[in-house]
């Protein structure tokens, strides 16, 4: 299962080092020999046409899909051999494309469940809703513009608010690597602006991988852009360089 180890001294500084990553579904290689590195405090945006394998890359990193070959190293831990909850506990947070929140619970309870304490069965039974928990939930709720909706059941939130809630659920875990799958998709213009503002505050002191189609938004936040096409990297670099790349223009940016 393991490919020849390509580790050299340089990957020491990277928060995330993906090397030779391949996953094949019945022979179809959704991600094909992919390598990329994410620095500390870097905002990396992954763009690409539909079916390029963007979401699959996030699935592979967070353990939802098992890699066929290749390695994913997060701070010198091999994620491909870890279970999902272990990866989360190691410090990787993942937001799904569709808002993935607990509709039957209140906003407070949604955040409380995500609070990184009492994660075992016994821990959950004896978990107390004490002052630090309440304060942290309050703090996060203010960040995600939901402070006055804490007792609201999550199913009654608007689409944009649900997206914020899920971002809040990740923030309360304080992950070192945050992965966001289309955080502004389906949002109104004003919600989009607020989300950009929110992302600017939360990306401090952590590395972030974002999948996004909205080019204005990408331009606004990206340090570096990776363009995927048919499971492979088509181009990588600062936004300006990628935008000028003729290959990228042909398959993705177009016209």
């Amino acid at each position: 299962m393991n490919t020849p180890v390509i580790t050299d001294t340089m990957n020491k500084d990277f928060v995330l080092a993906v090397e030779g990553l391949t996953v094949s579904f019945d022979g179809f290689k959704a991600v094909n020999d992919l390598s990329f590195y994410v620095d500390e405090n870097e905002i990396r945006v992954i763009i690409g046409p539909n079916g390029a394998g963007k979401t699959t890359v996030l699935d592979l990193i967070c353990g939802r899909t098992k890699a066929t070959t290749g390695s994913i190293k997060f701070k010198d831990q091999e994620l491909t051999r870890m279970k999902e909850h272990e990866i989360v506990r190691a410090g990787v947070g993942r937001k799904f494309q569709n808002p993935s929140i607990y509709e039957d619970l209140t906003v407070f309870e949604n955040l409380e469940i995500s609070y990184p304490k009492g994660r075992s069965v016994v821990g959950a039974l004896t978990f107390r809703r004490d002052a630090p928990v309440k304060e942290r939930v309050q703090e996060i709720a203010e960040m995600i513009f939901l402070a006055d909706q804490l007792d609201q059941r999550a199913e009654y939130l608007s689409h944009g608010q649900k997206q914020w809630l899920e971002i809040g659920m990740l923030l309360i875990q304080d992950p070192e690597l945050l992965m966001l799958d289309e955080p502004v998709a389906g949002m109104s213009v004003s919600e989009r602006k607020k989300t950009a503002e929110l992302l600017h505050t939360i990306i401090k002191n952590r590395s972030v991988i974002v999948i996004e189609h909205d080019m204005k938004f990408v331009e606004d936040i990206a340090h570096k852009v990776t363009v995927l096409h048919q499971g492979k990297i088509l181009s990588e670099g600062p936004m300006a360089k990628v935008q000028a790349d003729p290959k990228v223009i042909e398959v993705y940016l177009g016209h």
Partner: protein, 386 residues
């Protein structure tokens, strides 16, 4: 009984609900029913333990088990083995070829008590076994299935198969289990004759006491963070996993808890009714127990208790007059509940009655978070199936 102050364990309306049930079971029914009818209620209440387990397992966590009869039976058989050994003393069985062993073993040419019967000479061991044996069995099954992410309909089918397998095993191993007749002719519990009317009345109150304690336990689990994680899992299992929880552990836990609760019911059944047989283990009783829960409301702890009482009361009165039609009636009732009021009697109560009662209890009607509503119900497999 409960902690005071700002506790999340029991809300005022829960306490009122439990108090009403306690008064009904401890005062009203014993005063109004004759001994014969009260013993029926006692028998129904043993199924209520199973229904309670199903509320946690199926209603909250979304794990539909069609094999709860297995655990009811294991608990019942553990208790029956103890009682049978006590009834099979050497004096009582001196006409047998081998005195001192249960009569059915003697009929099956077994001349020595099997090793797994030996520890059931002790009441202490038996009580622990009632709780632990089903939990271990549930742990093995749950661990094997939930770690492999078997869920939903597949899980339900496998539990149903287990119910069938255990029944066949019990029937087939007549010499060790009493076969199709079960373990009968139980007489005394540590010398106390359980067949008298007064003993049955006392056992009724013990049963109610244990049920109320189990209800409190269920409320405790429900109101802990674990209870909310179960609901979250039913809704978005992946999100729970990606919040750092090992989802399978929580499923195993709730499945084991439901198994132990069912087993208490089984043991109380054996004590009150005086025998245990494979007819309480198989597929049909297991499904009936799911129906009790569905009718009462699978999201409501108290609803499931009332559902059990009501369906069983209907079963007894109907099958006295139309024995052939009863099973059709039960099936029809289940379909009607699933189609028209998926949250059962408790759902109806909360929609129509509670809002009117609200002013009486000063805000008790604010039940928005009282029971997390069911996921859009199609059929009887909840959303966590996916």
């Amino acid at each position: 009984m409960t902690k005071t102050g700002r506790t999340f364990f029991l809300r005022p309306q829960d306490m009122i609900g439990i108090a009403i049930l306690a008064i009904l079971l401890l005062v009203v029914l014993p005063l109004t029913l004759d001994n014969f009818r009260l013993q029926f209620v006692g028998k129904y209440l043993t199924y209520a333990f199973v229904a309670l387990g199903l509320v946690l397992c199926w209603g909250y966590a979304g794990i539909l088990s069609l094999g709860q009869g297995v655990f009811f039976g294991l608990g019942g058989y553990c208790m029956a083995m103890f009682l049978k050994l006590e009834a099979s003393s050497v004096e009582n069985t001196k006409i047998q070829t081998t005195p001192g062993i249960p009569d059915f073993m003697d009929w099956n040419q077994i001349t020595q008590l099997p090793w797994f019967w030996e520890p059931f000479h002790h009441l202490g061991f038996t009580i622990i076994a009632v709780l632990v044996v089903p939990a271990i069995f549930a742990f093995v099954v749950g661990f094997a299935m939930f770690k492999r992410r078997v869920g939903g309909v597949y899980f339900a089918i496998i539990t149903q198969a287990l119910a069938a397998i255990l029944t066949i095993l019990i029937v087939g191993q007549q010499g060790y289990t009493g076969g199709i007749n079960g373990i009968t002719d139980l007489r005394t519990l540590n010398g106390w004759d359980i067949r008298t009317d007064s003993a049955k009345t006392i056992l009724y109150f013990v049963c109610v006491g244990l049920l109320l304690a189990s209800i409190l336990l269920a409320y405790f689990v429900k109101s802990s963070k674990l209870g909310r994680i179960l609901v979250a899992m039913r809704d978005k299992e992946d999100r729970v996993r990606f919040s750092g929880y090992d989802v399978s552990n929580f499923k195993v836990f709730v499945f084991c808890l439901a198994a132990s609760l069912s087993a208490i019911g089984g043991a109380m059944f054996t004590l009150q009714v005086g025998f245990m047989s494979p007819s309480f283990v198989g597929i049909v009783p297991s499904i009936e127990m799911v129906i009790y829960t569905a009718v009462g409301g699978r999201l409501s702890i108290l609803g499931a208790i009332y559902g059990t009482l009501l369906v069983n009361w209907a079963k007894t009165s109907f099958s006295e007059s139309f024995p052939e039609l009863w099973l059709f009636g039960l099936g029809g009732l289940f379909i009607a509940v699933v189609l028209t009021f998926p949250n059962g009697i408790a759902g109806l109560y909360q929609t129509y009655v509670a809002p009117r009662l609200g002013p009486l209890f000063g805000g008790a009607a604010k039940r928005s978070d009282a029971t997390p509503p069911a996921p859009p119900s199609s059929g009887h497999a909840p959303a966590a199936a996916e």
